[in-house]
C-alpha cells in the first residue's frame, strides 16, 4: 500500500464536516463530558432564544450566543472527525487487503498437498493448516511449519522487496493479506477470522476501538471536575447577584459557564489521541494499545541491540597497519588483491578501503586462481600468475599458512586491535606477512547525537551485545551509550529488565526472535520487528513494520509529543479563563455596581458585545488549534526543566495573554458588523 495519503484533503474536510453533525447524537456526545455539557447548555440557550422570539422582546444577542454555543460543539466534533478521517483513508486500503480469499486447507502439517480442500478464508480457524504457493495471497495470520518461500509484504509494510519466510527459526511468521512470490509454505493459522493483524490495524487507524489511555482518562476526570466546579460558580452567581440587587439573564450565565469550562482541551482531547496514533501508523509502527504509546513517552531506559541498531550489521575495514619495512601502498595492494574473490560485506569493505588508500592506483597483476573463504582454512585470497600466493585471514590461519611468526610490532598491533573490540586480519604474500587490516564495528552515523539527545531527555541507553566485555566496552564508549550488557543472553536481558523495573524505571526494548519474547512481554514498551517470529509479535505491544530497531527512538519521541500536546493545550485552555472573567464579569455586574466597569480594562464596547466576543473566541480557538492538535506540539529533545520553561512560557503565558487580544479583536469586529 502506498504511504502517501490517498484521500484528497478536500474530501477529507467535507467528510469531517458531515461527521461533525452526525456526532451531535447524544449517544456519541456523552463520551466527551465537557462537550456534552456544552451541547446541553446550547440546547437550553436555544430554548431561551425561541421563548424570547415567541413571548417577549426578542434581542439579537441571545440567538447569536445560542448559535455560537452550537458552533463550539460542532468545532469540537469536527476536530475529532478530521483526526479520524485521516486514519480512515488508510483503513480503507487496508480493508481491501484483508478481503476474503480462497484457501487450501490441509488436514495436517505434513499432509499430502494434493489432499488440500479449498475453503473460504473466513472459515479458517486457529490451529488449522493451509498450503500457499507462488501467486497465492496468504489467507490468514500464521506461522510457517514447512517449506521456504519469498513473500511480498508490501501490503502492510509498504516495502516491495520480497522477504524470505521459512519454517522454524526467526523468520517463520506470515501475515494474512501478503502474497507469496515464489515457492510454497505450509502455514499453521494463528488468528481467528476478524482478529487478524490487518483487522487490528484497521480498527486501530479508524479509531473505532480506540480506548482512552490512562493519562487521557485522568485528564478527562480533571476536566469533568473543573466543569462541575464552574457549574457551582455560575449557578451560585444568580443568588449573589439577586442579593446585590441585579438580575443576570440566564443566557449570559450560560455564556459565562461555557467559556469557563475547559472546552478547548475538551474539544481537542480525542483528536490529539487519534492523531498521535496516526503519527505512529505513519512511521509504520502498529501499537496494540494506546497505553503502549503513552508508556513510550515515560520510558527511562532503552535496551538496544548493538547489531543493526547501534552498528551496521557487519564489521568493516577501518585501517591497514603495515609491518615494519612494508609500505602502506604495498599492503593495500595485497589486501585489495586478496579480497577480490570475497563477496562478504567485510571483503567488499576491504576492497573499498584499499582502493581509497591507493587513490585509484590499483594493482594490475594477472590473477591465476581465486581462493574463496572456507570455514576450514579461514582465509581467502588469490594466486598470481607468477605463483605468488596473496592471502588474508585470521591471525593464526595466516601464521599457519605462511609458517612465519609476525614481528613484535605487528603482534602488538594485532593484540591492540583485538583489545579495542576489532577484528585483526593478517595479509600475506608468499611467506611474508605484510601487515594487518583493522576490521571494526562501524557506528551508524548520527547515533551518538541521538543518544546525547536521549540523555538530555533523561532516557538512559543500554547496549545489549553478545560480544565479550572488552569489545563491548570499546563500542559502548564510541557510540556514547550510558551502559552496556556484554555476553548477553535472553535470560540476562529479562533479569536486567526486571531489575530496572524494581528501581521504578520504565524499560523499552525491541526484539525479533522467539527467545526475545519473554523480555518483550516483560518490558513496558516492547517493539517487535515485523520480520520476527509470531511469538515475538504476540509478546510485544508495538510492532514495527519496517523491522528497524532504531525506530524505538522515534516511538519514544511520538509518545512524548502526544503527552506534551495534551499538557500544552490543557494549560492553554485553563489559562484562558482569566481573560474571559475580565470580559464577561463587568458586563454582567454593570447594572448593580457601575464602578466594576474598571474591570473592563480591555475596553469592550458593550456588555452584549463583550459576552458575544468571549463566546465567539471560545469557539474559534478550537478551530485555530486543530492543526496543532493533529500535528502535535513541536518537540525538540531537551531536559524536562527546559521543556517546562519553554512550554509554560508559550502555552501558559500565551494562554493567559492570547484571549485578551483575541476577545478585543473580535469585539471590534462584532461592533463593526453591528452584531451587538
Amino acid at each position: 500500500m502506498s504511504r502517501t495519503d490517498t484521500a484528497a484533503p478536500r474530501g477529507l474536510y467535507a467528510t469531517a464536516a458531515r461527521q461533525s453533525v452526525a456526532k451531535l447524537s447524544p449517544r456519541l456526545l456523552v463520551r466527551n463530558p465537557v462537550i456534552f455539557v456544552t451541547a446541553i447548555v446550547a440546547a437550553m440557550t436555544t430554548i431561551l432564544a425561541l421563548r424570547d422570539l415567541v413571548a417577549g422582546p426578542a434581542g439579537a444577542v441571545i440567538p447569536q450566543i445560542a448559535a455560537w454555543l452550537w458552533v463550539t460543539v460542532l468545532f469540537a466534533n469536527f476536530a475529532e472527525a478530521l483526526a479520524e478521517g485521516r486514519g480512515k483513508a488508510r483503513a480503507d486500503t487496508l480493508r481491501a487487503t484483508g478481503r476474503e480469499t480462497r484457501a487450501r486447507r490441509l488436514a495436517a502439517a505434513d499432509a499430502d498437498h494434493a489432499g488440500a480442500e479449498t475453503v473460504s478464508s473466513t472459515e479458517l480457524r486457529a490451529g488449522q493448516f493451509v498450503l500457499v504457493s507462488a501467486g497465492d495471497v496468504i489467507p490468514a495470520d500464521g506461522e510457517a511449519v514447512a517449506g521456504v518461500a519469498s513473500v511480498n509484504e508490501s501490503a502492510i509494510t509498504g516495502e516491495s522487496a520480497p522477504v524470505i519466510r521459512e519454517a522454524g527459526g526467526d523468520r517463520s511468521s506470515v501475515t494474512g493479506g501478503t502474497t507469496v512470490v515464489s515457492d510454497w509454505l505450509v502455514v499453521r493459522v494463528t488468528a481467528e477470522p476478524g482478529k487478524s493483524f490487518i483487522d487490528r490495524m484497521v480498527a486501530l487507524v479508524e479509531g473505532a476501538e480506540r480506548q482512552k489511555t490512562p493519562n487521557e482518562i485522568a485528564l478527562s476526570i480533571l476536566l469533568t471536575g473543573l466543569t462541575l466546579i464552574f457549574l457551582f460558580v455560575v449557578v451560585t452567581l444568580e443568588p449573589f447577584a439577586r442579593y446585590s440587587g441585579t438580575s443576570i439573564p440566564a443566557a449570559f450565565l450560560a455564556a459565562l459557564f461555557v467559556t469557563l469550562i475547559p472546552t478547548t482541551i475538551g474539544g481537542l482531547l480525542s483528536a490529539i489521541g487519534i492523531a498521535g496514533m496516526d503519527r505512529l501508523v505513519k512511521a509504520n509502527v502498529i501499537a496494540k494499545s494506546g497505553r503502549a504509546v503513552e508508556a513510550a513517552g515515560d520510558v527511562d531506559v532503552l535496551l538496544l541491540d548493538k547489531t543493526g541498531t547501534i552498528t551496521f550489521g557487519n564489521r568493516m575495514a577501518d585501517a591497514v597497519l603495515p609491518a615494519p619495512g612494508v609500505s602502506e601502498a604495498r599492503l593495500a595492494q595485497a589486501a585489495w588483491l586478496a579480497s577480490q574473490a570475497d563477496d562478504t560485506p567485510e571483503g567488499k569493505s576491504i576492497v573499498a578501503l584499499s582502493a581509497r588508500l591507493l587513490g585509484g592506483d590499483l594493482p594490475h597483476a594477472a590473477i591465476a586462481r581465486h581462493v574463496a573463504f572456507s570455514a576450514q582454512t579461514r582465509l581467502s585470497g588469490v594466486d598470481l600468475d607468477g605463483g605468488a600466493q596473496v592471502r588474508k585471514g585470521a591471525a593464526d590461519a595466516i601464521m599457519g599458512h605462511t609458517g612465519t611468526e609476525p614481528g613484535a610490532i605487528l603482534a602488538a598491533n594485532v593484540e591492540n586491535i583485538a583489545r579495542a573490540g576489532g577484528t585483526p586480519l593478517l595479509v600475506s604474500q608468499g611467506t611474508e606477512i605484510l601487515g594487518v587490516i583493522h576490521l571494526k564495528d562501524i557506528i551508524k552515523p548520527g547515533v551518538r547525537e541521538r543518544f546525547a539527545q536521549l540523555r538530555a531527555m533523561g532516557v538512559r541507553t543500554v547496549m545489549i551485545t553478545g560480544d565479550n566485555p572488552l569489545t563491548a566496552a570499546a563500542i559502548a564508549a564510541e557510540a556514547g551509550v550510558d551502559d552496556f550488557m556484554a555476553e548477553a543472553t535472553p535470560e540476562a536481558k529479562l533479569e536486567r529488565i526486571r531489575a530496572e523495573q524494581q528501581e521504578g524505571r520504565l524499560v523499552a526494548m525491541c526484539g525479533d526472535g522467539s527467545k526475545d519474547a519473554p523480555a518483550l512481554a516483560q518490558a513496558d514498551v516492547g517493539v517487535a520487528m515485523n520480520s520476527g517470529t509470531q511469538a515475538a509479535k504476540e509478546a510485544g505491544n508495538l510492532i514495527d513494520l519496517d523491522s528497524d530497531p532504531t525506530k524505538l527512538i522515534e516511538i519514544v519521541m511520538v509518545g512524548k509529543q502526544l503527552l506534551i500536546s495534551r499538557g500544552a493545550l490543557t494549560t492553554f485552555s485553563i489559562a484562558n479563563d482569566a481573560a474571559k472573567y475580565f470580559a464577561i464579569l463587568p458586563a454582567l455586574f454593570l447594572g448593580a455596581y457601575p464602578g466594576l466597569a474598571a474591570l473592563n480594562f480591555m475596553g469592550l464596547s458593550s456588555p452584549e458585545s463583550a459576552i458575544l466576543s468571549a463566546v465567539i473566541f471560545n469557539a474559534l480557538v478550537i478551530v485555530a488549534l486543530i492543526p496543532l492538535a493533529l500535528r502535535g506540539v513541536r518537540y525538540a529533545p531537551a531536559s524536562a526543566s527546559a521543556l517546562l520553561r519553554n512550554n509554560l512560557l508559550v502555552y501558559g503565558l500565551g494562554g493567559l495573554v492570547a484571549p485578551f487580544l483575541g476577545i478585543k479583536a473580535i469585539d471590534m469586529i462584532v461592533v463593526a458588523l453591528n452584531l451587538a
Partner: protein, 567 residues
Amino acid sequence: MSPDILGLVVFLVALVALALPLGRHMARVYCNERTLLTPVLAPVEGAIYRIAGIRAGEGQSWRAYAAAVIAFNAAGFVVLYAILRLQGVLPWNPAGIGPMAPDLAFNTAVSFTTNTNWQAYSGEAQLSHFSQMVGLTVQNFVSAGTGMAVAAAVIRGFACRGDGRLGNFWADLTRSVLYVLLPLSIVVALILAGQGVVQTLSGPVTAATLEGAEQVIARGPAASQVAIKQLGTNGGGFFGVNSAHPLENPTVVSNMVQALCILLIPVAFCVTYGRMVGDRRQGAALFAAMGILFVAGLALVTWSEAAGNPLVAQVAGTDGPNLEGKEMRFGATLSALWGAATTAASNGSVNAMHDSFMPLSGLVFLVNMMIGEVIFGGVGAGLYGMLLYVVLAVFLAGLMVGRTPEYLGKKIEAKEVSLAVLAFLSMPLGILVLAAVSVLVPQALAAVQEVGPHGLSEVLYAYASATGNNGSAFAGFGAADPVHTTLQGIAMLLGRYAIIVPMLGIAGALAVKVPAAPTAGSFPTHGPLFVVLLIVTVAILGGLTFFPALALGPLAEQVSLSAGTTF
C-alpha cells in the same frame, strides 16, 4: 525603612528562625527518632500506649488511618456536645451558666473538633470553665493533633518506597500532642501570663469604674487556653472578642508572641516535609510558594490599612491609617499583620474587627481562606492542602515535559486525580453553594446586618471561614441564627473531612508506588519555576473560582468607595 515595616521584617525573620529547629524536631518526632524530649516523655508515651492498648509500631493502610481519624473525631464530637448540653449541672461553673442550645452546641462541637473554632457564642456568657477547659481546650489540642497526624501520614505516603503504610494514627496523635503541642504551649502560656494574660479558676470580679458605675470583669484560665489556641491554629478565644480583649492580649509583646505562634507550626511543617521526603528543596519550594503568597497578602493589607479610608480623610481633613475597629495598643500595622496571619494560617483568632478593615484587606482575608487555607494554613492542614494543589499543578503542567506527571518520582494517575478533584470540590461547595443557599433563605438573610456588597462579604466571609476551618468572622453577621449554625456546621465538616479523607486516599495510592529515580527527564518540583507554577495554580484554580463572588463583594465595595459610596 519605617519602624512598622522593620517590625514586620523582624517578625518574619524570627518566624523562620524558630520554625527551622522546630521543623527538624517534628521530623524526628514523626520518624520516631530520638529528640531532646525523649528521655522525659518516652515513659509517658509508653504508658499512654499501654493504657489505651495502642500498638504504636503497627502501620495502617490509608483506609484504616482515615477510619481512625473519623472515629476519634466523632467520639470527640459526641463528648463535647454532651459537655456543652450538660454544663449547667457540671462542676467549675462559678457564673452559673445554663446548657447551650442544641443547634449552637452542634455548631460549637463541630467547630472545635474540626479545628475551626468558629464561635457562634460568646465565651464568657455561654461557657462554664468546665466547658472551656475539659471541653474546648482538650479539642484545641487533639483537633490540632489530628491535623498534624494526617499531615505526617500524607507525607509518609508521598515519601515512602511502596509499602503502602501511612503510619499509626494513634501514635501520631499522641506524639503530636506530647512532643510538640504540650511543651510549646507550656512555654507560651508562661510567657503570656508573664505579660499579664489572666490565668485563674475564679469567677468574675466586680469593679467600680471611675465614673462610679459597676463593671463585671470576666476572668478565667485564659493564658493556658490562648497558648494552644494560637499554636494549634484553633483561634477560639477565651473571651468573645478574642485577642482584642485586654486580658487575653494585653501588650505588644504578647501580641507578637501570639502572632508568631499562629504561623510557627505551619511554617515548621515545610521544614518537616523536606526532611521526611528526603529532599529539603521540596520543602523549601512549598515554603517559598506559601511565603510569597503570604507576603503579597500582608503587603496589600498593610498598605491599604496604612492608606486609610479616603472618605474619612475628607471629613476629618487629615490623612491617616484606618483605625476603625482596631485596638490602639496595636495600631494599623500589627492589626494588619495579625489579620493576614490569622486568615492565612486558618487560625481565626482576631485582635481587631475584620469587618472594619478596608475592602481590599477584606478581599485578601477572603482569598486567604477561599483558596483552602494553604498559605501555611492550619497545623498540618495547610501542608496537605498545599499538597493538593501540588498534585493538581503537577498533573496540569507535568504532561508538558512529555511524561506521565510525577511528583517525588511517583506517577500521578487517574486515581490520584479523581481524589484530588473530589477534595478540591469541597471549597466551592462549602463556600459558594452553602453561602448561596443562605442568602436564598429569608430568615438567614435577615441575620446579615449589612446590605450591598459589604453584606455579601460578611456572608462569604462566614462560609469561607467555616469551610476553611478558620473560625474568624466579619462582625455584623448573625452567626447564631439556626439556619446559619447548621449550614456552617456542614461547611466545617466539608472543609475538614472532605479534604482529609481524599488526601489520605491520595497518600495511600502513592504509598504503594515505588518512586522512580529522578532523571533529566523528570518534572522538576523544586526551584523557582515550580514555585511560580504552584502560585499560579493556586491563583487560577483557587482564586478564579471565587472571582465572580468576590467581584460582587469586596471588589464592588472598593470601587464604590473610590466613587464615594459606602455601605
